[in-house]
């Protein structure tokens, strides 16, 4: 559909050439004859929905997957990248979304882990290491203390340490998987400068990201994958937002959600929260409590947004409402006017509350089990006669949820959840939370790390559920999403409520102003718009 990058004609062989790469996991083919070319000094963005195969392709390049078909050449020489070590020898380094640092080791020890500078053969030469580390980090614009455990650093700084580690290993090809997902705007800007400088010095960079604006701002070349196939490679100049979305999704996406709803009629609050608080494990004078004196009420059919910076106490508010901190939290929660003490998830379930957690893999899903088992789990009791679970009922329930939420499961309700794409996994989590027929739905970052198409479906679902009379409390770090979906927004700062905004007052600027203390601290909202 699109011709390959014309720069391929240049005399210099590409830094990395992957040819006809194919890979299957069991019966599902995740990569089908994909070609990929990367040149020195190029910033090459790799885009695609979740499950498109970007990560798999780059894992192959980094030697993390050894069982694939196809051919890889580095600088024109064919290589067998059958282990991370082999990839490192070929000058390829990957920086994962979740950083791979040893938290308790200090900066230089992390940078030189596995390639320590030694004195008389076996003693680690810290002084020498620190000197060398400082030199590399200076190039990356990092001037902090090196003799400190990396766990004490901010995420952005840790990222620089990872990059330094790759540079020390003489990496000429750097693969970065969603590097900005946990960074503030400032840190993102700094990272972009570093990336551009590295590219100018001849390092070839693969940049995987969901964020359209980042890609448009940064990349010289964009390659789009869909369903394991190469859809096309564009030069940065050719690429436009619209065009990229069309390539990724395979169809034109209209505005994701047409309009806001009618202003919610004044209804009786379904859930009323008064003076909610949660202890801080390590209280400081500035932050005595994680959540402090939060009050709000949500009516049936209303989507109530919680806004705030990272660490403002939004997730914690939901956790307290779901009974996850019985010993260290307090406040009055009334549901339909009745004071309810929610001291455990069991009691939350009984009170008609469901929580879609932030991290679906850690808290939401049993990855090794089927969709049916996951979806049926909260209501196992209802699927059983005399304690014996009925498979028929379970399958029927799962099938119903698969149909309702449009979950793409090739192997039916028993398909193992780990083999689904991120968006579909998220739908399973949502399905699991809906089977208890909750009246109050707590959503914590419901669209994190899922692709454009699935996002639109989740948005539609949220509006549909609100239409059915559920009270929805929504936490999301994507400001446009918060504004799009919410009827009202409560803004938190350092655990304290600063404002409750009505729909007509919504704007990114106002929310940011209330979220950050008078502009003294930098906003950490991870908005695509702001990052661009």
């Amino acid at each position: 559909m699109f011709p390959p990058d014309p720069t391929a004609n240049s005399t210099e062989p590409p830094a990395l050439r992957m040819r006809r790469i194919a890979k299957s996991f069991g019966a599902s083919r995740v990569l089908i004859d994909v070609d990929f070319e990367l040149h020195r000094g190029e910033i090459h963005a790799l885009m695609g929905e979740n499950g498109a195969g970007k990560s798999t392709l780059m894992k192959i390049a980094a030697g993390l997957i050894e069982d694939f078909e196809g051919e890889i050449a580095v600088d024109g020489k064919i290589v067998h990248l059958t282990s991370p070590r082999a990839a490192a020898r070929a000058g390829i380094a990957i920086i994962h979304q979740e950083l791979c640092l040893v938290p308790e080791l200090e900066v230089d020890e992390n940078i030189f882990l596995g390639q320590e500078k030694l004195r008389s053969g076996f003693i680690v030469d810290r002084a020498n290491q620190i000197r060398a580390a400082r030199e590399v980090l200076k190039m990356l614009d990092y001037h902090g203390n090196l003799e400190t455990p990396v766990s004490k650093l901010r995420v952005g700084e840790q990222q620089l340490v990872e990059i330094a580690k790759a540079l020390v290993a003489r990496a000429r090809i750097l693969i970065m998987d969603e590097p900005t997902s946990a960074l503030s705007i400032n840190e993102t800007d700094r990272l972009f400068q570093v990336i551009r400088r590295l590219a100018a010095e001849g390092v070839a960079i693969v940049y995987i990201s969901h964020r359209m604006e980042e890609v448009l701002a940064l990349a010289n070349t964009v390659t789009v994958l869909r369903d394991g196939r190469l859809i096309g490679t564009l030069s940065g100049k050719q690429a436009s937002r619209r065009e990229l979305i069309r390539m990724m999704v395979g169809r034109e996406i209209q505005e994701m959600l047409a309009t806001g709803k009618d202003p919610a009629a004044v209804r009786e609050p379904l859930i009323d929260v008064r003076n909610l608080w949660l202890e801080h494990p390590r209280p400081t004078p500035l932050r005595p409590r994680l959540v402090d004196n939060v009050s709000f009420s949500v009516a049936a059919g209303e989507v109530f947004g919680l806004g705030g910076l990272l660490g403002a106490g939004r997730t914690e508010t939901l956790e307290v409402l779901f009974g996850l901190h019985p010993a260290t939290s307090g406040g009055v929660v009334r549901i339909r006017g009745k004071t309810t003490r929610i001291l455990s998830p069991v009691l939350a379930k009984e009170a008609g509350i469901s929580l879609v957690t932030e991290d679906r893999k850690r808290d939401g899903l049993i990855l090794g089990a089927g969709i049916d088992r996951n979806v049926g789990l909260p209501v196992t009791r209802l699927l059983a006669h005399f304690g014996v679970v009925s498979n028929t009922l379970e399958q029927a329930l799962a099938s119903a949820k698969i149909a309702q939420l449009n979950i793409q499961a090739a192997h039916g309700p028993a398909q193992i959840v780990a083999s689904l794409s991120g968006g579909n996994q998220q739908k399973v989590v949502v399905g699991k939370c809906l089977v208890t027929q909750p009246k109050i739905l707590l959503l914590d970052e419901p669209t994190r790390g899922i692709d454009v198409g699935a996002k639109a479906e989740i948005y539609r679902l949220i509006q549909e559920l609100a239409g059915q009379g559920l009270a929805i409390i929504l936490v999301t770090s994507e400001l446009p999403e918060l504004i799009l979906l919410s009827d009202r927004i409560l803004v938190l700062r350092e655990g304290l409520p600063t404002a409750i905004l009505n729909r007509e007052d919504f704007s990114q600027e106002i929310i940011l102003e209330f979220a950050s203390s008078g502009g003294a601290t930098q906003p950490e909202f991870l908005t695509p718009e702001a990052a661009a």
Binding site: E350, P378, K432
Partner: protein, 416 residues
């Protein structure tokens, strides 16, 4: 996965027939009913413990205290059978039995009441009336159990007496394991390791300093009927084997078909997800350790019947044998994956292996080495690692054969 296991068992069985010596009448000793019956008898103790261990491992835990629990059960059983009146054994086990009866009724009655009704809400609370009924029933049963056991004190315990009392003690100690692990949020390894040491000490204390071993002479110092626990049904099936198979059936059913079984899988698969789904994770965990302790002490009773003595070192190493059998049976030590039928096969593989080595008259130390090797091989085979190693080996010897396509194919496509 399961087929692989059954093939393993079949191959081992064939190997047994092939390697077995043949006696003067031309009968294959391995295949003789006597030998097959012996194998079942020998595996049944390990098997019963492995059944409980499967439940525990499936939740992602481990129970190292089962060997000591078996020793405690063995000592208790021998002392209750051979000593009259109030002894350390009876004085400790009768109150525990009463407590177990009380708590079990108070816990199970409301649970059963809920499950009898087909509710419509995901969380259903028992009515106060049902709770009260459970409590009262518990008190009555506890009283009855005390009356029943104390009435046996004068004439020493009956078979049914020990079969009820000793597992009740195991259940109590197992629940304590589970209680510490779940409520204290502690590592099962450490907790049960500590309990392993402590229970062994308790078993020794129980016997007193003078007599470490209590011989059980059925007919003279204990009831004759105790022999029933080592008898053969229909001349071939040993009674301990029946206990083992029944345990496999019951808990296999529980694991595969009941809500409790689903919760066990869920907790092993992702404990936090199970907790957030509103499951009583702590209750399930306590229950599996309770079952494990109960079955281990039951194995102690059967040991006493088999070897006609109660001694504190009865179960030494039993925990490791049980874990090995469970792991050979394909249950994942991280939890969430496995089956009871796998454990049955694992136990049988272990048993037949010992039997073959015994029939071949192989030195017992060599047997240990071979068993260790077999465990490693079985686990490697199940994790599918051997195949990967083979591929890697092949690729290092013939680099062109790997990865994937041949050079001709690739170049053909390039020139296209």
């Amino acid at each position: 996965m399961m087929t692989k296991l059954f093939w393993g068992l079949a191959v081992l069985y064939g190997l047994g027939i092939f390697l077995s010596p043949v006696n003067r009448k031309g009968i294959n000793i391995f295949l003789s009913p006597g030998n097959q019956s012996d194998v079942l008898r020998q595996v049944s103790n390990n098997g019963i413990i492995a059944v409980g261990m499967t439940l525990v491992i499936m939740t992602g835990g481990i129970d190292l205290s089962v060997g000591s629990m078996m020793a405690l059960g063995c000592m208790l059983c021998a002392m209750l059978l051979t000593l009259q009146g109030w002894t350390t054994a009876s004085a400790s086990s009768i109150p525990i039995l009463a407590l177990v009866c009380l708590l079990l009724c108070a816990y199970l009655v409301p649970l059963i009441a809920i499950n009898l009704r087909r509710g419509s809400r995901p969380v259903e609370k028992p009515s106060p009336g049902v709770r009260l009924f459970g409590l009262i029933l518990g008190l009555v049963v506890a009283g009855l159990s005390v009356w029943w056991t104390t009435s046996q004190l004068q004439s020493k315990f009956t078979v049914l007496g020990v079969l009820v009392t000793v597992p009740a003690v195991g259940l109590a100690v197992g629940s304590l394991n589970g209680l510490i692990i779940s409520k204290g949020r502690m590592q099962p390894f450490i907790v049960t390791l500590a309990m392993m040491v402590a229970i062994l000490g308790a078993a020794r204390l129980l016997g007193g300093e003078t007599a470490a071993i209590y011989p059980v002479y059925t007919g003279s110092n204990a009831t004759e009927k105790f022999d029933i626990l080592r008898a053969l049904v229909l001349q071939v099936v040993p009674v301990p084997g029946i206990f083992f198979l029944v345990a496999v059936l019951i808990f296999g059913f529980v694991l595969k078909f009941t809500t409790f079984g689903r919760y066990i899988y869920a907790i092993g698969g992702n404990e936090q997800a199970a907790r957030l789904a509103g499951i009583h994770v702590d209750q399930v965990k306590i229950s599996v350790y309770a079952v494990s302790g109960m079955l281990a002490s039951l194995a102690g009773v059967l040991y006493t019947a088999q070897y006609r003595q109660g001694k504190p070192d009865a179960g030494s190493g039993a925990e490791l044998d049980a874990i090995a059998a469970v792991v050979i049976g394909g249950t994942n030590l991280m939890g969430g994956k496995g089956s009871m039928i796998g454990t049955l096969v694992g136990v049988l593989i272990f048993g037949f292996l010992s039997n073959i080595l015994l029939l071949k008259n192989i030195n017992s130390n060599t047997q240990f080495v071979l068993k260790g090797a077999i465990i490693l091989a079985a686990v490697l085979l199940q994790e599918g690692q051997l195949g990967l190693w083979w591929k890697r080996l092949r690729s290092s010897v013939y680099p062109s054969a790997y990865p994937g396509r041949s050079k001709e194919q690739v170049s053909e496509k390039v020139t296209r």
